[in-house]
Symmetry: C2
Subunit: 253 residues, 2 copies
């Protein structure tokens, strides 16, 4: 993976037994990667971990020391299995406190006392954290130092991510990509592809085979922050495909 | 996450810039988790990492010391960006060698010399590894000690995973799950749900809210290896939902 010295990195920690068990398909990684890329922040790792306090603490502490930004999804609801806020507070060694703005938001909707008590669990925010607004209407997420704690439900996570700005998440240059697909075997183009990669070290070239009803082939994906180099690579990839009498499909097959 | 002393654990390492960038949606985790569960092996972590040799080596070495089994997907094709086999060999400190069975398989399909040379990259297997058969017809994966190296293309990964047996992957007891959904807010049932969880420590109870056009609600999922306890929890969850004049939907909403 090509990188300059100005690369700003992120890691996503997906907290949830239901993702690990295969019951639920995560879609938050793909969405957040794209949102962050527009801010010039590169997703460099993702981890899916179970709802176990010690695992959350260890993973958060390891990742926040390694990456510029860490994001978590999942486990911030009102039920007993929602242990993310507690675990993050323990990871930072700070107490959880009822945040007055979140308490006020939650109390806007009336409820019987025991239901309100459960809902108010979502107002417990680690001391020193700032809120991540939730335009979908529910309780917010929060940011403590370089760790951003978000909901796991995709529509809510996406609403929270829509509030991210360059001011909150200073980044580098966004990575752009071009995809050129063809009904050509990977092996046919492998050697010349390697030559193109060697000629453009600031661009990452990946080859992703596909097997479809219409036939098999490969999508060649070039990624990089240098638009000029990317344009040149795109031309080289199209020429390579045409050399083998195949049709280059821009955007991929 | 409830666990007995006989729990057999696994970790999946998803190798691929295209998953991290958000261009491609991983589906291998959910599939492999379900295949392994039937063998009594519990997926306990997944990591998505980029195609960087040092990252692959460090991640594989950390995970193979932590989990009973480690699986990797991606990066075993014929192009320059396919560096998984090389990285695994480095992680184990063994050379890559042309495996005669794989060479013979690949040579069955004729090709020009430079294409054959690229395809034969896929016959390079770490010394001491055994093959993972590929019923989809292409080159196999391989197993070295407790690490299983598989293709990234879902149809090929699934074909390889279909060859796994209890003999190759000795496991414990499979985890079963029951799901009961209802159009009830999570907070309404939170306190009583916690009481049910406390009464059944061998069962994991998770609450997963949903927001749909027909309304919002929650799916309550109980997971465990003890079928009797699971049946009792399922009855308790249904009774809890009915107490609030809602309809329990078995299998989830």
């Amino acid at each position: 993976m090509a990188q300059g010295s100005d690369v700003v990195t992120a890691c996503l920690i997906i907290i949830g037994n239901e993702i690990l068990s295969g019951r639920t398909q995560d879609t938050n990684l793909a969405h957040l990667s794209q949102v962050l890329n527009e801010l010039g922040v590169q997703m460099r790792e993702a981890r899916v971990i179970p709802d176990i306090e010690s695992t959350i603490i260890d993973t958060v502490n390891e990742c926040r020391a390694t990456f510029d930004y860490v994001f978590t999804t999942g486990g911030i609801g009102p039920t007993h299995d929602d242990i993310t806020a507690d675990s993050i507070a323990l990871a930072f060694g700070v107490p959880l406190e009822f945040h007055p703005d979140v308490v006020a938001l939650i109390k806007r909707r009336e409820a019987p006392p025991e239901v309100m008590e459960s809902r108010l669990r979502m107002a417990r925010i680690p001391r020193g954290a700032t809120l991540i607004e939730n335009p979908s209407g529910g309780p917010p997420g929060f940011q403590i130092e370089n760790v951003f704690v978000m909901a796991g439900v995709p529509s809510v996570m996406q609403a929270m991510a829509s509030t991210f700005t360059e001011e909150r998440l200073p980044g580098g240059r966004p990575v752009r990509s071009v995809t050129v697909g063809a009904f050509l075997g990977e092996s046919q183009v492998a050697q010349e592809l390697e030559s193109i990669q060697a000629a453009y070290p600031t661009v990452d070239i990946g080859s992703y085979p596909f097997f479809r009803e219409q036939g098999y082939g490969t999508n060649l994906v070039a990624r990089g922050a240098d638009q000029d180099a990317l344009d040149e690579v795109a031309e080289a990839l199209k020429a390579l495909i045409e050399k083998y009498d195949a049709t280059p499909h821009e955007g991929g097959v």
